[in-house]
Amino acid sequence: MANTTTTFEQPDALLRTQQALDAAPDVPGERLTLNMGPSHPSTHGVLRIVLELDGEVVTKAIPDIGYLHRGDEKIAENMTYNQFVPYTDRLDYLAPLANNVAYACAVEKLMGWDLPPRGQAIRVLCCELARISAHLLGFGAMAMDCGAMSVFLYTFTEREKLYNLFESLTGARFTTSYTRIGGMTRDLPPGWLDEVAAFIKQYKPQIEETDKLLTRNKIFIERSRDVGVITRADAISYGITGPNLRGSGVDYDVRKVRPYLGYENYDFDIPVGSVGDCYDRYLVRLEELRQSVRIIEQVLAKFPEGPIHVADTKNYLPKKQKVLTKMEELIHQFILVTEGLKAPPGEVYFGAENPKGELGFYIRSRGGGVPYRLKIRAPSFVNLSILDKLLPGCMMADVVAILGSIDFVMGECDR
């Protein structure tokens, strides 16, 4: 007897539901309004979405943000440039080092400063380590939303190792406040670069482990493939940036298009997706981890010596030793701390490629140590604005997968 196989047709559930809906448009069913958040485990903070459901299909979604609006921009108008650095930690609190760097670069652009090579290399290192730590939590949480708890435990173990690195560098696990305008709070501690190299060495196999856990995982693929597709045109029109944009196939990366901190000297690729679904966004993040490792290895290979901050002695804090012995430095320190640095009048916009997308700072200065207006262009805010277009038509259970794949942080979204 010959073996025969039968192929069972399993049409897409969403399509099936849509067909059923189309076939019977006058079903006397009720639309159900479902409130999701602001306290909901898969909204990663305090996002609230008011969903309108027809059966299990979302027909309308109204995102409601602002539950973490803390008034950062108003606070910035009331303090000197350096005083605002700790607030940037708490924007995207998964990658505070990258925020510190972006903010410092923005004010340095206003001042017309360029960092010496060693300062730039330290900042690149910080940015890429921060990117790794943010993406680790990003898809750890996404996998947890899709039902795979174990990935989260694996990625958090790696994050703890990164926290150890950050702690020995800055003194804090993740509210680092490491940069100052024109430099860094302190140079690298002795032996820190070796620790980073050791971390990278043991971390590379860990990426592959995550890869094995998720990329070919049947359940994960079913939950994420062809779900929440953002088309290329939509992504550009909605101003989406970061891995979410690249997942839709646009190779926009600020590090390549408008290089800063000497990113043009490093060799790295920009991964792009082909479909723009949740699975593509996950793949892009996974590949960005490998690219970040690549950049870090290049930075470590030729780490420059020299000063870490700008040479402008009038506007950068002098060495403590000199403050305690020399009159002139003492006066400089006093003026700098009480009045802030002397920024010229003008306006700048600086965008940096953060883990979540382009973090931009628009600074309007009227001169003096306090910004007249400081606007934060938060990538999460912009990325979330597509939700009311993206969610309708999805199944209820897809909402958490989509939210997880967009990987937003409310601290940054609401500011």
């Binding site: 485990p41 903070g45 602002g66 973490l68 700790p86 993740f174 509210t175 601290g411």
Partner: protein, 173 residues
């Protein structure tokens, strides 16, 4: 079993009986099975997650059962900045929790508004909720959260469990 043979003193049974004060035993049970409601609002939520991870392992204190429904939890851990927009939602979640219930204000923002002295931030959740334990830090390290949990355990042990006085909620100031 033959009738009447084991009516009197039974060493086997007595060996498994512990005589104790009812308060003490109920409190002992409560302290070791606190189910937190993780109210992760901002940065502190990351440290809250870290304390649930492998390195700090909140399960050692019987508090690893994170319930995202307030109706199933005993301890409200407010981790992060409570804005005015979020304030009444926080209060509503607290009110949905069944008694006995406790509140931990995790971090500077939840305790006092912290570094966010601005128009949008509630200056400490003790303006709307009765708080049992304040944890300092911005954000507190996971060890600090565990210390806070242990302090809460100590506090519960001193309570009159059978006649717990309901804490009057502060009026909106």
């Amino acid at each position: 079993m033959v009738h009447g043979r084991e009516i009197a003193y039974n060493s086997k049974v007595e060996g498994n009986i512990i005589l104790a004060n009812l308060d003490a035993s109920i409190n002992w049970m409560r302290t070791h099975s606190m189910w937190p409601m993780p109210m992760g609002l901002a940065c502190c939520a990351i440290e809250l997650m870290a304390s649930g991870g492998a390195r700090f392992d909140i399960a050692r204190f019987g508090a690893e059962v994170m319930r995202f429904s307030p109706r199933q939890s005993d301890v409200l851990i407010v981790a992060g900045t409570v804005t005015y927009k979020m304030a009444l939602a926080t209060k509503r979640i607290y009110e949905q929790m069944p008694d006995p219930k406790w509140v931990i204000a995790m971090g500077a923002c939840a305790s006092s508004g912290g570094m966010y002295r601005s128009y949008a931030v509630l200056q400490g959740i003790d303006r709307i909720l009765p708080v049992d334990v304040y944890i300092s830090g911005c954000p507190p390290r996971p060890e600090a959260l565990l210390e806070g949990l242990m302090r809460l355990q100590q506090k519960i042990m001193t309570e009159k469990s059978t006649t717990r006085q309901l804490v009057p909620e502060p009026a909106l100031v």
